[in-house]
Amino acid sequence: MGLLDAAVSRQNVLVTSVDSVLNWARLSSLWPMGFGLACCAIEMMATNASNYDLERFGIFPRSSPRQSDLMIVAGTVTMKMAERVVRLYEQMPEPRYVLSMGSCSNCGGPYWEHGYHVLKGVDRVIPVDVYVPGCPPRPEALIGGLMKIQELIRMEGLGISRADALKKLAEAEGDPQPLIEEARKQETA
């Protein structure tokens, strides 16, 4: 490891604090692209509207991909639409994130079997960072997904790739299975 590499390592005090400030800025102002596809788009709109008010977190939809950091794929992606989704993704400036909202964009949802014209999961065409299940997900679930994106950004930094950050996030999460089992035990007892 060279001297320069060492300076830019994770433990460096200076770099990490700069990192955390920059990460704070990025996670505090996630501008999603106002990109509605189907049913989930209505829930996304409801999340933006007065009752759930995403602007509390500084999340503020932009209609141009050039000015957005986050793509919320809200709804069913069809074959006809898939290429447009890819193009919109490519138009977004780095660093960019993708949140797949709803079962349809996660895996095809209720259309997985006979939906000849439905893309079975948007991750077949663009990389997805966070999946939010539900059909459609409740606004709380979407906010939860956005919080996950924020956590992911927190894990990132100089010299840490997105894949590493995702791994770190997964490690930080822990396995939910013991907790579930414990809850079950308590319920039965």
């Binding site: 505090s28 007065s50 509390r56 977190f57 141009s64 050039r66 400036p93 660093p95």
Partner: protein, 358 residues
């Protein structure tokens, strides 16, 4: 009053340690810092909070206490974003566009008196300069819109140019009424003419009944000049995606944003200088309570002009979150068939008033 006029700015300008014009630099930096601070605090954050209040929401809450760091985070994030220049764009125009836009809105601050003792450049044609330099924004917008090589941007730019150039005419004529009442184009002089112990009664708006007409005309025209609702057709989100800055990302977008809020304050400051006394205190002396004297001074002056400007910005935001947007031809109709004739009428009436009524 005449003695202390421009005292601070003169002193600063004379401050040249080792022949280096540090004082001038400071004078130049003050408006820049002001724009930045204002845009960060009142401009963007205030707009978000005000709109949230009007819409039964909370607005930014999580970023800092009550979300006050929201705009700072936005700017810091935009700095980190990838700076995309589309391959098919005209690189030179695309890059220069936001710069020209920013310079246009920033240069006019040179002639704005921020108090009885401070003005960047005490030009004797200050008002004329301010009107002229704001028109420079048109060049920036057109460069941005054309250079983006995007159809939506082009539409936004062309609409914007048509709109700003048209609305210059009623705006300029309305300001001319104010200048006629003052008999000068010097901003500082216009302010001095509106000072007196009766406070607001000396403002041009209250000095003649006709002054209301150019005041309203200028206010409406200024909304159009800075592309605010209901005249925000150049960036009409539901029609043109994001108008002339559709293709801009990262810091260039932030600069456009900053310039926009800069010119919002610009027009608000001009309207308060010409019609509402600028840095003069609106409070009158009432007998023993010399309120006017108490609230006059260099710092009070800055306070008054900024708060008057902020009031007009608040009205702009209020309108923005209430009214739908006009159509292109209706906008032009309003300009050429309503505002311009009325501006001329008010021009003539003001002239008659100035000649025949003492």
């Amino acid at each position: 009053m005449g003695n202390s006029l421009n005292a601070w700015s003169d002193a600063l300008a004379a401050f040249q340690p080792a022949g280096f014009p540090l004082g001038l630099l400071i004078i130049a930096v003050i408006p820049l810092v002001f724009i930045a601070v204002y845009a960060l605090t009142y401009g963007v954050y205030g707009e978000r909070k005000i709109s949230a209040f009007m819409q039964d929401r909370l607005g930014p809450m999580e970023v800092g206490k009550w979300g006050i760091l929201q705009t700072l985070a936005d700017i810091l994030k935009l700095l980190q974003k990838e700076d995309i220049v589309p391959t098919s764009a005209d690189k030179f125009l695309f890059v220069i566009g936001p710069g020209v836009l920013f310079v246009g809105s920033f240069l006019a601050f040179a002639v704005i008196p921020f108090g009885p003792a401070f003005i960047g450049a005490s030009l004797n044609v200050g008002l004329f300069f301010a009107i002229g330099i704001v028109a420079l924004e048109v060049v920036g917008i057109l460069a941005a819109g054309w250079g983006s090589n995007n159809k939506w941007s082009l539409y936004g730019a062309v609409r914007s140019v048509a709109q700003i150039v048209s609305y210059e005419i009623p705006a300029a004529i309305a300001l001319l009424c104010g200048a006629m009442m003052a008999g000068t184009l010097d901003m500082q002089q216009i302010n001095i003419l509106q000072s007196g112990t009766y406070g607001f009664a000396h403002f041009f708006l209250f000095q003649s009944p006709i002054a209301w007409l150019p005041f309203l005309i200028y206010f409406i025209a200024s909304l159009a000049e800075v592309n605010r609702a209901p005249f925000d057709i150049p960036e009409a989100e539901s029609e043109l995606v994001a108008g002339y800055f559709t293709e801009y990302s990262g810091m260039k977008f932030a600069v456009i944003f900053l310039a926009e809020y800069g010119s919002m304050f610009m027009v608000s400051a001009i309207i308060s200088i010409v019609f509402l006394g600028g840095w003069n205190s609106p409070l009158p002396n009432i007998g023993a309570f010399a309120l006017n004297d108490m609230t006059t001074g260099p710092v009070w002056g800055a306070f008054w002009i900024i708060s008057k400007g902020f009031f007009f910005i608040f009205v702009q935001m209020w309108l923005r979150w209430t009214l739908p947007r006009l159509r292109v031809d209706q906008l032009m109709y309003l300009c050429w068939k309503v505002l311009t004739p009325f501006a001329f009428v008010s021009f003539v009436l003001t002239a008659i008033w100035e000649i025949y009524v003492p």
